[in-house]
Symmetry: D5
């Protein structure tokens, strides 16, 4: 058994019981973005969060223990994702990657936007021409320093 | 000569003259995000915008014509980017890809967030623990339909 | 259990019972193109469609639930397909890709032909020199806009 | 000098002179789809067609000779295309590939749709909800035979 | 169960019973080349051929049904084959590929040698300096046409 | 300068002067298959053959010397060829690879068909249903031995 | 069941019983290099050798039959090996590959060193500065010929 | 200018002047194997050796300086070599890789055969059935240790 | 059963029993770095160490035997690691790789830093601005020699 | 012109003038590790540092400007490095990657060791059994947080 087995079990339970990520997140006590990532095997739960998950998905002791272990991260089966929704994000990185780089460097100098000290918020943005997906990404700027 | 040659010439002129993307965008009359992407060879300029670019970067007639032709898009030299700043974005897609997919589907059903009817806004978010990069992505939701 | 397991079960039932996609589509109530894609794990069924599928293929409750969940799309095992019929389509994209790009841009400007707001119709076209496969693809044009 | 050099020269001349593929095709005397593919280095011209191209793009004798030589085909720089318009076609092959295979086999038996005895027609389809790109592909069915 | 399972079962039965492809082909009633390809999961059998296979390899009803379904073709586990015998064929394509292209085009013009309307015959050619493998490939020439 | 430069020069001269491989082969004194492969940079010429090539293509002393040096072989730009004619050969290896392996082993035991002690003959085979390309490959069988 | 299953069973038996390849080879009656390759699924055994293997590893009838079938060769899970010992050999090919090519061609002309009519001998070479691995490779030279 | 430019110049001079590696090695004062690798850009020359090379190949001061700089090693253009002679070596690593690993570990325990403290000797081995290439590889065994 | 199965069992036991690598290392009697690598399937244990592991993780005789066999090394599922922590190390190699090469060569001449005669020490380095990971790598320098 | 051109010019000047990185670093006023990375195109120089570089390497105004622009980082030509010295570092990541991950997580919890707030120190460590390369890596620990 490894974390992937626990993830598969969680997803199957969620499908079977027609649960929603937003509701699960409320019970876990974190944002729906972090909670979903955690349930999909990308984040580490505290003891208390893992106990909630145990209840929600009917996990065993060993499965609950796995949720508290730092996982081997990476949720995609191929380097270039084939799923159209996820591909569009890869395309944004591909088309706008050098633009993002230029503008962050222009504002902050050499360094990166952290993907660790990072949060994400996904919301529906009503629009008469068709609703939009609005995503806010916030990452700490980490400067390269000389030494 | 192709669009890549024009891109290289624009970047070299910008470096030589120590120009800023924000200033260039103001002259082009679009956001700094769109303008930078356009100057880096990813977007198509109108005649008027191309004329501004001609002035700013000292382009020839042929180079100015290239800016008005739809380019072959894709700004990265490798499928997995090696540059740390751009890689962090690829990492976000890799770690959070299935999370983004789940949450957009939970809210909107089957479909995608458009990378075409799309805009991006990158801002500095002051923070006493270290300033943050704040990025807002807005893409129209496009539903899959049965037929 | 995941969607792939349901797809494999559907295909096996179809082989065993020597069913036809056209007949299945009629029962599902959608075109044969959409229905086949859905049965092969690429589309999301409504509750009612899933119930029809349950009947047709002898699915369990959990399997029927999976059909109503948005799947991770992508039906090919390798980036370049090895199957000769599917490869010919990849070859068309490879040989004619830049041509398609030029002609759509010439007619519509910068943007794409949607693969989401999209439909496909495959028909036999009788021809004395050998019947032909006639395929009509229809996708909404989505323009890039400045912002 | 090789065919790629001729292609680059033709594209540059077209950009410089702001020509349209439809007009070029009319002069060459073939469809705009075949003509564009030919000008982009994928098809072989007859002596007469090559002479027209020589006039249109100001080619030398050697360049005109190259147009009459069968080219090494394949117009994309990477196995998975990065350009969003062309990627959507790759995505169609990826998502619908097995569907296309099933339906052609159901109608015709084992074999392929030819990408050689093949034609393509790209048209604007007016639509109040947004115009559509309508593409008709026609390829001869070639059956596998036993021997 | 899918076609690969049937292929594995056929190969295991052949190994266990020490059968020869030439004998199997005689019973199937086709050439040893086509028959072997079919048994290895690359070709589609008629009802009658499938019944012979059922007898020969002790197949179930479902397995026999799979033999009559068009398979997803491609018999190699990697894009560049590692097996020395098969690699030599890949090497011939790699070293002689452009030569084959030039000579077929010189004789026939632009087009391809069909791999569908195709047959192969493999024979031992006695030779005092060491017997040779003699292979005859015959494929219909399919010309590219203008349209 | 290296062998690729000489190959490019030879091809350009052939295109410019509209020569045929068959005629070139006659002057070189070898088969059209070997001669074409040699001119395309895959084989090594003798002093005498190189002198004929010098005459035919107007080569310099250094270029003529390169023809007599064993080249780094491999004529394709990508591991999976994109050109449709050459791809069909790759497809034959992919679809029939395991078949070829089985039949050669059945006849000869463990070993390979040499791609070095090898010859190829490409001929037009007239056929009322459309002429065929007939290719004979002959390679010495080389057995694996125990030691 | 296929040859890989037999290989895994042989390795497991060897580990469990703490056998040595040199002893196994003595019983098989061939060199330790050939025998190890054969036990690892790369070579074909005679009936008599397979019977010895049956005894040594407790194989079934079917497993013993598999040892006498020519296997699909290639023992590495990735194109570039990750195991440090095997990587060093890949590194030798990478660093010295063109050197080996030049020196064999200088001595023998165009052709190859056979990997089929080939033997290998691995020995410990005592050395006061640290013992060395001494490997002798012997392969027949096979010349390319004109035809 | 970099080391690759010097390598190309050396090879071109060798071709033009029809020199032999064995003679060059004698003048450099090292084995033909090391010398060829060095001339092909894989090894670092001493000042004295570089002076000999300057004489032999007519190098400039800067080119001579490059020969004394440690090069970025790796002589092959692709991860899997396409040249038949070099491929056979890759094939040996692929087919015999796990065998070599097993036998070295059986004799020496866990560790590697060095590719740095390493030498190679390539000789012609006369044989009435066809001369053989005999290669002796000698590498220090380096044990993994616990710590 | 192979070494991977043993590794999976060890990890599962460690998760279930919430053990620490540092404690395991103390019992094994080696550093925490070597011990962890060994438990993760990268190193070979002595009989005595394997017996300790048997006790700690409840292994069978056969599993204990596997720990004493040299494993096929390489702990990552993809050539470019997707896990953010491990990727940062790959990034260091990518960004600083040529720097490391230059500085080691400047100090030592041509050669490598051994990854076999190698040790690693990972420590927490307290820092008021945020604790740091401090890693010391020590590898013997191995010089290339002429021969 | 881009940063790669400046890097090539700097390296060529260093080779021609036989300079040492340690001396260059002293003049730039930073560690030899940071300075070498900067000169090899991986870091951004201040105006003052760039002026020193201009003097040292005879750079033009434009070249000096490029040194102050944040570069597209990544110093290796292939995803898996071919150079033996750099490969050994990739091997350490491959063999010890999961070990490093486990031990950092055991000490710090979920998060990463920064490759941005990072420094490296490479020293010769004298050793009677052969001098060693001693490398100290220091990176800030960055924890994943819930949100």
């Amino acid at each position: 058994m490894d974390r992937n087995d626990v993830t598969r079990k969680i997803i199957a339970a969620k499908v079977r019981n027609r649960m929603r990520w937003a509701d699960i997140a409320e019970k876990i006590g974190e944002s729906k973005e972090w909670t979903t990532a955690a349930m999909l095997g990308q984040m580490t739960l505290t003891l208390k969060q893992a106990e909630v998950a145990r209840e929600l998905f009917g996990l065993t002791d060993e499965e609950t223990a796995w949720l508290q272990i730092v996982p081997y991260k990476g949720s995609l089966p191929t380097a270039v994702p084939t799923d159209p929704l996820i591909y569009r994000w890869y395309e944004i990185v591909n088309v706008y990657g050098t633009t993002i780089k230029e503008l962050i460097h222009e504002e902050f100098g050499d360094g990166i936007m952290s993907a660790i000290d990072f949060s994400m918020d996904i919301q529906r943005e009503p629009d008469p021409k068709g609703d939009r997906v609005n995503v806010v990404l916030s990452g700490k700027f980490l400067p390269y320093k000389t030494y």
